[in-house]
């Protein structure tokens, strides 16, 4: 119970700091809308084309915009040596990590929930046909993105090339989860239910979440303290 409260305190602190300045949220949102707009120039958004690529397009937008938020997750603590204070705080490193994870999770999810309707309007896609399943994939995929992003955000926080290194580390590791999310999202956005193939991908996505949450929790003390 104590542990849950510790996670909650870190999460609420992060969300409050973000909602006061909105520095990551605004950048991430503007970036997501920008990519959605730019994609419409790279190909002719016909009905058949969208049937093929909607999942891939959406998750590329989510992954790119998400990294902007995740970059700030630990970098926000650098001024005034807040990071040292957090590490010295009487809470386990895993609680700090999970608190930051949940805070980023909420922020990234918020950006996604704004991007989805805009995507539907720009590309004439009725994406609500399989809403509960789509939400499930959104939650699982976003968790994968935030877990990997947060642990690598902590890893790269003291490096000069932080903004460059985070995506370089995050995207390759994230690839299996992104592929799963893209494949399932494409099917769901087209209004089809989850079939046997998508079930396999869903298992991959859940497995990815479980495995990398466990690995991150096992290594987080090393990452934070060195």
């Amino acid at each position: 119970m104590r542990y849950v409260r510790q996670i909650g305190v870190v999460m609420v602190k992060d969300l409050r700091a973000e909602l006061r300045t909105k520095e990551a949220l605004n950048a991430s949102l503007a970036f997501a809308l920008m990519i959605l707009l730019l994609f419409s120039y790279t190909f002719d958004p016909t009905q058949e084309m969208m049937r093929e690529i909607s999942g891939g397009l959406l998750w590329i937008v989510f992954a790119f915009a998400g990294t902007l938020t995740l970059n700030r997750s630990f970098a926000r603590e650098l001024p005034n040596d807040c990071l040292d204070a957090l590490i010295a705080a009487p809470i386990p490193g895993s609680a700090l990590f999970l608190g930051k994870c949940f805070a980023s999770f909420v922020l990234v999810l918020a950006v996604e929930l704004v991007s989805l309707p805009v995507f539907g309007i720009f590309y004439n896609v009725r994406w609500t046909a399989q809403l509960p399943e789509l939400i499930l994939v959104l939650l699982l995929g976003t968790w994968a993105l935030t877990v990997i992003g947060t642990i690598f955000s902590a890893l790269t926080v003291n490096i000069k090339l932080r903004e460059v290194m985070l995506p370089m580390l995050t995207y390759p590791v994230l690839m299996p989860a992104l592929m799963s999310a893209m494949r399932i999202t494409t099917v769901l956005v087209n209004g089809a239910p989850i079939g046997a193939d998508e079930l396999d991908w869903l298992k991959m996505l859940i497995g990815f979440d479980v495995i990398f949450t466990a690995v991150s929790l096992a290594l987080v003390e090393t990452v934070l303290v060195g």
Binding site: I148, I151, L155, T156, N158, I159, K160, L161, M165, M168, L169, P172, V173, M175, P176, M179, S180, R183, D197, D200, W201, M204, G207, F208, I211, F212, V215, L219, T222, V223, G226
Partner: protein, 182 residues
């Protein structure tokens, strides 16, 4: 050695390098002995080189057999994904100055990459299985046991040379630092 089996052989050798790298990384985090860090660096670097050679020969073998350079063959594609997984390991090392932090961060990345390899390979195979990939990848053959052995031995020798060089460099570095403090 026929070009056709070189791809397969170098993939096996690179996998071996990945296993050694993750074991060395875990041992470093446990013992903080910098020998293991140097070992992980040496095998990762040589493994990446072997994998790059494998990917290029795979593409060339496909071309020689009359197909295209790149046909999204699942084995070639997953080799490329693994290469992209491990390349940031070296970039991260180059970006961190402080030796202990560099070694610990690199070890963490090595562990993440190793855990991700089976998932990524499976995902690439599933993905390409749906996309009418060529039934039999053109121009590539299964590696014979001796070609695997030969490439693996080459890898071991190269890693050993690289390890010695890294250790000499570190020794020189330590000497320079101690002179500065005096």
């Amino acid at each position: 050695m026929p070009v056709a089996s070189l791809f397969d052989a170098s993939v096996w050798a690179a996998m071996l390098a990945g296993v050694v790298a993750v074991i060395a990384s875990i041992l470093f985090l446990r013992t903080r002995n910098f020998f293991y860090d140097a070992l992980a660096l040496a095998v990762t670097e040589i493994g990446l080189i072997l994998l790059a050679v494998g990917i290029v020969t795979g593409a060339v073998a496909g071309r020689l057999a009359g197909a295209l350079w790149w046909t999204w063959d699942p084995r070639l594609a997953s080799a490329l994904v693994c290469w992209l997984l491990y390349a940031p390991y070296l970039m991260l090392r180059a970006a961190i100055e402080e030796p202990t932090q560099r070694a610990a961060s690199a070890a963490v990345v090595s562990i993440f990459a190793f855990v991700d390899v089976p998932l990524a390979v499976a995902a690439v195979h599933w993905w390409l299985a749906r996309h009418a990939a060529p039934a039999q990848p053109a121009g590539m053959a299964q590696a014979t046991w001796w070609s695997v052995l030969l490439v693996a031995m080459l890898g071991v020798v190269l890693s050993w040379v690289r390890l010695r060089r890294e250790q000499r460099r570190r020794a020189a570095d330590a000497e320079r630092r101690s002179e500065q403090t005096v």
